[in-house]
């Protein structure tokens, strides 16, 4: 009996020896261990690597880094780089957009309508399927695909080249000063692609406090779904304020300002959170600047289309289908001769006006909670409904949009002014995250309270910002 108990070592025995041995090895065991590892690694590396004897050559990487991360040039260069990317996107996307609209809406749409009439499809089915679902999808494709085909490859090229970590490096200090983790700059960079991905990428942050700050403020990184909205509204309402040869660059600068504003808001909110509900120490970390690598252009274009453009487009279409159906339904279900949509819009209008927006826009944002991508198409369809300025297609139907200026004509008919455009751009930047992101936040934090805060705080802030902008604007420029 005794021999067995002597031979058999139980987990408790092990834990007991651990306790006593930990006293023996001393409290600095971890440090000693790290030191041993470093000593070994240095020795092994020295044995294996032969360095050139000559004096350090001219180091191109280092020179580029000194410029792009310099105190003086870092930020201006960053803004310039973004502006060039948007300028290329805005000027390049016009023609293919028009081309796609011509095919999908100008050619295929009438064929579908004729076909429906030929087989004697009832009007409500024809309206629901073709005017609702098909048109919404076609609109999403023709408006979103061209800018995405240009923007995403360009952005991915910058990423592959190694520029994004430099942006993170530039922003790192600011985030630390705001009481957040420097790595938050990395998750913000991911958020510029997709906020849900940005929220997941906060896993690189060890401290739960700083991770929560990064999750809550990720929404202020303008995402894929919102870039096209910003680009379109800026082109329509801000680019036209200046002579045509300046229009592209001015629209691009407007979009860049919104993106930069988003970064500043994320500083401000991080600062506020780290001094209120999420107080605590700031951790330090080292950010490794990877070497610049010549981007592999063809592969980058391929992966950016496969990994970014197509998923985003697919998601937009997926949500545009039910949204198109919902829009058509609320426009055609009538109570006492007035459609359901008009009731809702009338109810939302007073709130919308105070915020420099209108009822249509607010309803569009409600319909677009699943995907920011469909905000503009929804606004257009609803505006057509309310103003009745349709091409004779009936309620809830988008008519042919031959050019961007037709789009503008619809919006102007819906009461849009420059103020509306500015407020929509601001609200698009500062409002609740899309439902996918909200769900991701819930999965990452595992807390309903933090999820609610992360969803409602931006919404509230969006209301506050647009409210003040509208009030001040109206004081300065009384109509």
């Amino acid at each position: 009996m005794t021999t067995i108990s002597q031979n058999e070592i139980t987990p408790d025995d092990i834990m007991a020896s651990v306790e006593s041995l930990r006293w023996q090895v001393g409290r600095d065991f971890h440090d000693k261990l790290m030191e041993d590892i470093y000593t070994d690694a240095t020795k092994l590396a020295d044995r294996a690597v032969t360095r050139p004897d000559e004096k350090a050559r001219f180091d191109l990487d280092h020179t580029i880094d000194r410029i792009v991360t310099s105190r003086i040039w870092g930020f201006p260069l960053m803004i310039l780089m973004l502006a060039v990317v948007f300028w290329l996107t805005i000027t390049g996307a016009n023609y293919p957009s028009q081309f796609l609209a011509d095919i999908l809406i100008g050619t295929i749409y009438p064929i579908l309508k004729e076909f429906a009439a030929a087989i004697g499809m009832p009007w409500w089915l024809d309206g629901f399927l073709i005017d609702g679902i098909y048109l919404a999808t076609a609109w999403v494709i023709s408006v979103m695909l061209p800018p995405m085909m240009i923007f995403f490859p360009l952005f991915t090229l910058l990423e592959d080249f190694g520029y994004l970590p430099r942006v993170a490096f530039n922003l790192d200090n600011a985030y630390r000063k705001a009481g957040a983790h420097g790595k938050q700059s990395l998750s913000m960079m991911m958020g510029f692609g997709c906020n849900a991905a940005g929220v997941i990428s906060t896993r690189v942050i060890d401290s739960p406090r700083e991770r929560l700050i990064a999750i809550i403020t990720n929404n202020f990184a303008l995402c894929n779904g919102r870039w096209p909205t910003q680009i379109l509204i800026a082109t329509l309402f801000i680019g036209v304020l200046v002579p045509p040869y300046l229009a592209g660059i001015v629209s691009a600068l407007a979009v860049v300002s919104i993106a930069v504003l988003g970064v500043f808001i994320s500083f401000a909110i991080s600062w506020g959170l780290s001094r209120s509900v999420l107080r605590g120490e700031v951790s330090t970390f080292s950010l490794e600047l990877p070497p610049y690598r010549p981007p592999q252009v063809l592969q980058t274009i391929y992966t950016s289309i496969i990994d970014r453009t197509l998923p985003v487009l697919w998601r937009a279409i997926l949500f545009a289908i039910p949204a198109g159906a919902v829009i058509w339904l609320v426009s055609n279900i009538q109570i006492d001769g007035t459609s359901l949509a008009e009731y809702i819009i009338d109810a939302l209008n007073p709130i919308g006006i105070i915020l420099g927006l209108n009822g249509v826009i607010l309803l569009a944002y409600i319909v677009a909670i699943p995907a920011n991508e469909i905000v503009v198409p929804t606004i257009l369809m609803l505006t057509v409904l309310v103003t009745g300025s349709s091409g004779g297609e009936g309620a809830g139907v988008m008519f042919e949009l031959d050019s961007l200026m037709d789009t503008k004509a619809i919006l102007t008919a819906g009461g849009w002014t420059l103020l509306t455009a500015v407020c929509v751009m601001l609200f698009s930047l500062i409002h609740n995250p899309c439902s996918t992101t909200i769900y991701t936040i819930y999965k990452e934090t595992g807390s309903k309270r933090w999820t609610a805060l992360a969803s409602l705080l931006p919404l509230l802030l969006g209301f506050i910002v647009t409210f003040f902008v509208a009030q001040i604007w109206r004081l300065l420029f009384p109509a």
Binding site: N7, E8, I9, P11, D12, D13, I14, M15, S17, V18, L21, R22, Q24, V25, G26, F29, H30, K32, L33, M34, D36, I37, Y38, T39, D40, A41, T42, L44, A45, D46, R47, A48, V49, T50, R51, P52, R57, E159, D160, F161, G162, L164, P165, A168, K183, L186, I200, S201, R203, V204, D206, L287, E288, P290, P291, R293, Q296, T303, I306, D307
Partner: protein, 286 residues
């Protein structure tokens, strides 16, 4: 499935030879069959570890034919990515772990990587190393070699090392580390055939590694580790890396302590497959 996973036998070729040329070892390097996300009936599990931004995802894509997005910045892969490939009649499941500088601290990405190498017990662990930053990368390499005997070092970014005038003596490094070292330029798929061969040889037991162990300067530490690992070996005879478990316990690692106390440490090695499944589910839930 369990019987297929006899690690010591090089003759485990149960997979039906349907692919003809593609699986014939004479047809090198064409005997790599990229299986993408098809990971059914794998014979060996291979983990891909390394510092951030050393090209792990590029190696992953080169082996599996998948196009996981690779970014030129650290922290791109935070969760695990999995894919499959087939080489010389064996089917491999490849798991891309998050890039980490160490396996000793407690952040989530490091824990995912550490847990997989320790509890998932992959048949081979590839450590992707940046040839231009060998010293820093070896810190992680040495830690991985403490956990597992079966590893292959992929000395990546050799082109950049050359550009900087660095010469890396991979034979000496291989001798010092006690595991195969394969120089590579993963972006150009250079060195991938050699890497596959090394993986195959370590997986089948043709190559037996004698990995470098961290030498401690202090005799108190050495004795403590020896005493504790002896106890762990006798309590959990299936655990192949008692020394690492001892190191972690002395360092006060709560998670490892729990695994010892609950006896989970022993079960993991005998019910390897279930453990991997459980772990996958656990990690998924995060």
């Amino acid at each position: 499935m369990k019987d297929e996973k006899v690690m010591t036998s090089p003759t485990t070729t149960n997979a039906p030879a349907t692919s003809g040329c593609a699986s014939c070892p004479a047809h090198n390097p064409g005997n790599l069959l990229k299986l993408g996300i098809d990971m059914t009936d794998w014979d060996y599990v291979v983990a891909l570890a390394g510092n951030p931004n050393t090209g792990k995802s590029t190696v992953f894509n080169a082996l599996t034919g998948l196009r996981q997005h690779t970014g030129n910045w650290p922290g791109k892969t935070v969760a695990r990515a999995e894919g499959g490939f087939s080489y010389a009649d064996n089917r491999y499941k490849l798991v891309d772990l998050p890039g980490t500088y160490s396996l000793l601290s407690t952040s989530l990405d490091e824990e995912v990587a550490r847990d997989f190498i320790l509890f998932g017990q992959p048949d081979v662990t590839i450590i992707v190393v940046d040839a231009t930053r060998l010293e820093r990368n070896l810190n992680l390499t040495l830690q991985v070699l403490e956990i597992t005997d079966r590893a292959v070092v992929c000395l990546n970014l050799m082109d950049e090392a050359k550009r900087r005038g660095l010469t890396v003596n991979e034979r000496r490094l291989a001798r010092d580390l006690g595991v195969p070292v394969v120089p590579a330029i993963a972006r150009q798929k250079e060195g991938i055939p050699a890497l596959l061969k090394a993986i195959h040889e370590v997986a089948t037991g043709e190559t037996v590694c004698k990995p470098h162990r961290i030498k401690s300067g202090s005799s108190a530490i050495k004795n403590a580790i020896d005493e504790l690992s002896a106890q762990i070996e006798s309590a959990f005879p299936n655990v192949p890396n008692a020394r690492w478990v001892a190191l972690r316990l002395l360092d006060g690692d709560q998670r490892i302590a729990e695994a010892v106390q609950s006896g989970a440490l022993g079960n993991l090695s005998s019910q390897e497959e279930d453990a991997i499944q459980d772990l996958a589910i656990q990690l998924e839930a995060r």
